[in-house]
C-alpha cells in the first residue's frame, strides 16, 4: 500500500516538475521566437557602400589621368593602398600591394619584398579582412554586381569550401614563386598574377587605357582578350555568387584572411546574450557563422551579422573584453 502511494507521489512530482520545466522552456522559447521574428529583413548595406565608394574615389582621384589616358606619376605612388587597386588605373594615386610585391620579388636586386610584406603584415594584424569589406574598390564592384536581380542566387555549392583554398595556391604560385624563380636572362621575373589573372587590372587599368589611348589600342593581343574573358566571367559570376573573386581567387584576401583570427580589430559574440536564432549566420553572405567563430578567416567584417543580431550579442572593436567569446 505504502509502495503504491509512494509511486503515485513520485509520478505526481515528476508531472509537476515537468510542467514547471515546460513553462520555463516555453517562456524562453517564446522570447527566442520573438527575437528571431525580428530577424527576417536583411539589414541595409548602403552605409558601408558609401564608405567603400568614398575610399575608392579618394584613392583614384587623379582626374587628369582619365581625361588624357595616362597615369599619375607623383610621389604618392611610393605608398601602397590596402586594397586591390591597380596602379595602372588612370586615377590611382597609390600602388597596388600585390603588384608591388611581385615587382620587388621579381626584380634583379632583391629576393624578397620586406617593404610590401611588412605593410601587409601591419595592415593585416591591425584590421584583417576589414580591408576587403570596406577599402577594396574591386570588392565594391562585386558587391554592387550582386545586387542585380537574378532568379536563383547561389549561396553555396558542394565544393565551395574547397574552392576557397584556391586563393592561397594563387598567392603562393603566381604572386611569390613564379616571379621569384621564373626569370629572364637578366634575372627579372614577371608579375604573373597581374599578367594572367588580375581582373582589377583589366577593369581599372586595361579597359580605360585602351579606350583612351590609341597606342595602347594598337598593341592589344591574345593576353588582353584572355583577361577580358576572365573579367567577364567574374562579372557574370558576381551576379549569381556573392564576391566570387574574393572568395576563391584574391591573393590579397588570402594574406589578410590569415590575420583575421589574431587582428587587433575584432568581432565578439557574447554567449550570455546570444539566443542561438541563427540570424547572424543567415545574414552572412560569406557563409560564416559568428557564433562558432567570430573571426573566421573568410569574414570580410562587413558588419551584417552585427546588424542582424536581434539580441545585440555581436560587437566589434579594438578593445579587449575578456569575458566574451572569440
Amino acid at each position: 500500500m505504502d509502495k503504491e502511494l509512494n509511486k503515485d507521489i513520485d509520478k505526481t512530482s515528476v508531472k509537476v516538475s515537468n510542467k514547471k520545466w515546460d513553462k520555463k522552456s516555453d517562456k524562453e522559447g517564446n522570447q527566442k521566437k520573438k527575437l528571431a521574428g525580428k530577424t527576417g529583413r536583411q539589414p541595409s548595406e548602403w552605409p558601408r557602400h558609401g564608405i567603400q565608394l568614398l575610399w575608392a574615389l579618394i584613392t583614384n582621384s587623379y582626374l587628369a589621368g582619365f581625361l588624357q589616358g595616362r597615369i599619375y606619376e607623383g610621389k604618392l605612388k611610393n605608398l601602397c593602398v590596402p586594397g586591390l587597386n591597380c596602379y595602372s588605373c588612370p586615377g590611382a594615386l597609390g600602388s597596388c600591394p600585390i603588384g608591388a610585391l611581385q615587382a620587388v620579388i621579381g626584380s634583379r636586386n632583391y629576393q624578397w619584398a620586406f617593404y610590401v610584406s611588412g605593410f601587409l603584415i601591419f595592415v593585416g594584424a591591425l584590421v584583417g579582412r576589414f580591408v576587403c569589406g570596406f577599402l577594396c574598390p574591386f570588392g565594391l564592384i562585386q558587391d554592387l554586381l550582386h545586387k542585380i536581380p537574378f532568379p536563383k542566387k547561389l549561396r553555396t555549392f558542394r565544393s565551395d569550401r574547397l574552392l576557397r583554398k584556391l586563393k592561397y595556391a594563387i598567392l603562393i604560385l603566381f604572386v611569390i614563386l613564379l616571379p621569384m624563380f621564373l626569370t629572364d636572362i637578366l634575372g627579372q621575373g614577371s608579375p604573373w598574377f597581374c599578367k594572367l589573372i588580375c581582373p582589377a587590372g583589366t577593369l581599372e587599368g586595361g579597359i580605360p587605357l585602351v579606350f583612351l589611348n590609341s597606342a595602347m589600342r594598337s598593341a592589344i593581343g591574345w593576353l588582353y582578350a584572355w583577361k577580358n574573358v576572365l573579367l567577364s566571367a567574374i562579372i557574370l559570376a558576381s551576379i549569381v555568387i556573392y564576391r566570387p573573386f574574393c572568395k576563391y581567387l584574391c591573393p590579397l584576401g588570402a594574406v589578410y584572411s590569415v590575420f583575421n583570427p589574431i587582428s587587433v580589430f575584432r568581432y565578439r559574440t557574447d554567449p550570455d546574450k546570444c539566443v542561438s536564432c541563427g540570424a547572424c549566420a543567415r545574414a552572412c553572405k560569406m557563409n560564416c557563422d559568428p557564433v562558432k567563430n567570430s573571426n573566421d578567416p573568410e569574414c570580410i567584417r562587413c558588419g551584417l551579422c552585427k546588424k542582424a543580431c536581434p539580441a545585440g550579442a555581436i560587437s566589434c572593436g579594438w578593445k579587449e573584453r575578456e569575458s566574451l567569446s572569440d
Binding site: 611610393n78 595602372s88 611588412g118 605593410f119 601591419f122 595592415v123 595602347m216 588582353y224 575578456e322
Partner: protein, 52 residues
Amino acid sequence: MSRPGLQGRSRRIGLLLAAAGLCLMGYGVFRGEMDIVFEKAVRICMECIGIG
C-alpha cells in the same frame, strides 16, 4: 563557445605582429625597395593591363 583570455592573447599577438610589420617596412625602405615600387607604379604596367 568561449575561451576566456583567448581574445586578449590574440589581440596581443596582433599588436606584436603590427609592430613587426612596421619594422619590416622600415627595413625594406632602408634597403631601397620603395624605389622599385615607385618605378613600377609610375609607368603603365603592360602586364597588369593585359598587353605586355
